[in-house]
């Protein structure tokens, strides 16, 4: 790390104009980033302002901003939560496979394969989800509705097209898998070698070694990685916009044909045809999304950074 070993120039060093310009430019660029982030928040608030103070009658559905945003926020949260529930166990298993099970020679290549998932544009996942995955789920969801209908999630009636919240969550899960896997994998690879060897030397099997040395070490990375994935899933637009035909309000039924849309998908679908106050309302809903993802991401970074401080691996 340069910060620890680099010698700062002694006082009295000649400050050349080139130095001043360069230092100023790079500091300026850093401050620009802070300004951009503040600008994002400020401009969204300015544009959302009219919607916040408009009367209920002027709203798109005449019921007020809170009632307009709430079903969308619910749709956003429920799709992201299920995506998280599906993706996290897989991410941990894949990270373990790459870090501790796969032959070392091919592990890097396998990790690259998973990273390739992150490179696929979201529009393609959306098309794939609607055209390939959705038809495949029609029969299983019908079975779920028939046999497990007493669980509110599978209340049914099952959608005939397969374009359900379940499919949207599965697509989102595939999309957040790479980022969660990457964070967890890094932590698993940093597990102190001596801890692993010590537990093996005491006669632990590989799984016992992982349970006692690797998982406790990587626990906060698992939480942080899952939260980063959650942040991704909350803001993901096209996959939800293409898969779901968001129509119904708040419902826990994830296999029916009426599903709440998500904030991001709603903006993408309605923005091109909107004007006047509708735009302000959409931007206000975007502000809500921004606040939620900001909160989740800051939490995730705090968890991951705390691990970095106390891990003892450095």
């Amino acid at each position: 790390m340069p910060s620890t070993t680099e010698k700062t120039p002694r006082r009295g060093t000649v400050q050349r104009p080139g130095d001043r310009v360069f230092a100023g430019a790079s500091t300026g660029a850093g401050i620009t980033i802070l300004a951009i982030l503040a600008g994002v928040a400020a401009f969204l608030v300015i544009e959302a302002w009219p919607a916040l103070w408009a009367s209920d009658e002027e709203m798109p559905d005449g019921e007020g901003l809170v009632l307009y945003v709430w079903p969308l926020l619910f749709g956003t949260l429920i799709s992201a939560t299920f995506a998280l529930l599906i993706a996290t166990p897989f991410a941990v298993a894949i990270a373990l496979f790459i870090s501790h099970y796969a032959p070392r020679r091919v592990a890097v290549t396998l990790g690259y394969l998973i990273d390739l998932l992150a490179a696929v544009p979201s529009i393609i996942f959306g098309l794939w989800g609607a055209a390939e995955l959705a038809p495949l789920t029609v029969e299983p969801t019908q079975w779920l509705a028939d046999n497990l209908g007493f669980i509110p999630l599978f209340e049914g009636p099952a959608s005939a097209t397969g374009r359900t919240m379940l499919v949207a969550s599965m697509v989102l899960a595939v999309m957040i898998l790479p980022i969660t896997t990457a964070v967890v994998r890094e932590a698993f690879l940093q597990t102190p070698r001596l801890h692993e060897e010590a537990s093996l030397a005491l006669g632990a099997t590989r799984w016992e070694m992982i349970r006692m040395a690797v998982l406790p070490f990587g626990r906060s990375a698992i939480i942080g990685g899952a939260m980063l994935g959650l942040g991704r899933a909350l803001g993901e637009t096209m996959a939800v916009a293409i898969v779901l035909s968001g129509s119904a309000g708040v419902t826990f039924n994830i296999i029916g044909s009426g599903n709440p849309s998500s904030i991001a998908a709603n903006i993408a679908l309605r923005f091109p045809e909107s004007s006047g106050l509708d735009i302000n309302v959409l931007i206000a809903s975007g502000l809500v999304l921004f606040a939620v993802t900001l909160f989740v991401n800051m939490g995730a970074r705090a968890v991951i950074n705390r691990r970095r401080d106390f891990s003892g691996a450095n």
């Binding site: 340069p2 910060s3 680099e6 010698k7 120039p9 080139g18 360069f22 230092a23 790079s26 660029a29 850093g30 401050i31 620009t32 980033i33 802070l34 951009i36 982030l37 600008g39 994002v40 401009f43 969204l44 544009e47 298993a93 496979f97 099970y101 396998l110 390739l116 998932l117 490179a119 544009p121 979201s122 529009i123 393609i124 098309l127 794939w128 055209a131 093996l200 006669g203 099997t205 590989r206 799984w207 016992e208 942040g231 803001g235 993901e236 096209m238 916009a241 293409i242 991001a264 903006i267 993408a268 091109p272 735009i279 931007i283 999304l289 921004f290 993802t293 900001l294 800051m298 970074r301």
Partner: protein, 377 residues
Amino acid sequence: MSTPPTNPATGPAESLDTDRLPAHEDPGPQTVTLAAVPLTRGSLPRHAARLVLLGAVGLGAALFAAGLGATWGAVLAAVAYTVVIYLWSRSVEGTRRAFDRFVTAVVSSAFLVALVPLASVVWTVVDRGLARFDTEFFSYSMRGVVGEGGGVNHAIFGTLIITALAALISVPVGMLTAIYLVEYGRGALARAITFFVDVMTGIPSIVAGLFAYALFELFYGPGVRMGFMGSVALSILMIPIVVRSTEEMLKLVPNELREASYALAVPKWRTIVKVVLPTAIAGIATGVTLAIARVIGETAPLLITVGITTSDNFDPFDGRMATLSVFSFSQYATPGIPREAYFDRAWSAALLLILIVMVLNLGARLISRLFAPKTRG
């Protein structure tokens, strides 16, 4: 690898088997409660796992041949392997080793399951996208096209122009910020920038689009659409990626190089420009290429800032432009008649997009391999 001690009670004939432990397995000591209990217990033959796997795959293939779906065949094969290896190992090796084999099977299947969507996505896009991968598709725009025919020439140029402008904004800002963080940054400001760059990585792409719209609406009035807005939105997404990757690369530059340069009385800024950056340039170029690959396929921010048009527009400061991703979405979401023509164009544009992204990814790997600084000689 230690050899388990030969137990006189069990005799040499049995200990021969225990000697042949799988090469990657450590011989775990087993619980010993009585002197009469042998010190070592049996272990499965070396090729046990492979044999069971072969059997399970054979079973899956047989079920598939018998008319069951490929999915069910694979699932049943995986379950059969897990159950057989667990029970066999449990009867011979004991519960702990058996559970270890069980976890190995589960973790490996999870990895294989995760590869299914990747393979399926690529297969679907290639299969459906090839329908319209012809010369007309690349050389025509959609001007005046209803139904079949038409192409994405306008969208290809739109995507390239908007992404290039985004890179033009993000690369200088991102690189200078990374230089600040590594070479100059101390104290609260550097910590704040590091933290907020991390936070910025998580901004939803649609929010970046809304920001660009809100910014330009102040100057141009409501309903404004132009290519440059899309570039601004994309650069919000791109800057943190460039900062992060450049920062990582600059940190890898050995401090001895900087110190040697300072010792020769080279000013700090010339040290950075002439010593630090050239050393890290391969990694930085890789990072920038990956950042471009990441934003070139973005749809949502472009949908609300750039919109879509049917004809050529190569001026990013004047009106709507077409981009590949938005083109694909609009063809799929609002098909005309016949629908198949619209869907085919959507899939072909998606295939083109995925090809561009993959080429950029491979290019990034090549750059880092070809231009990496030589460590010796």
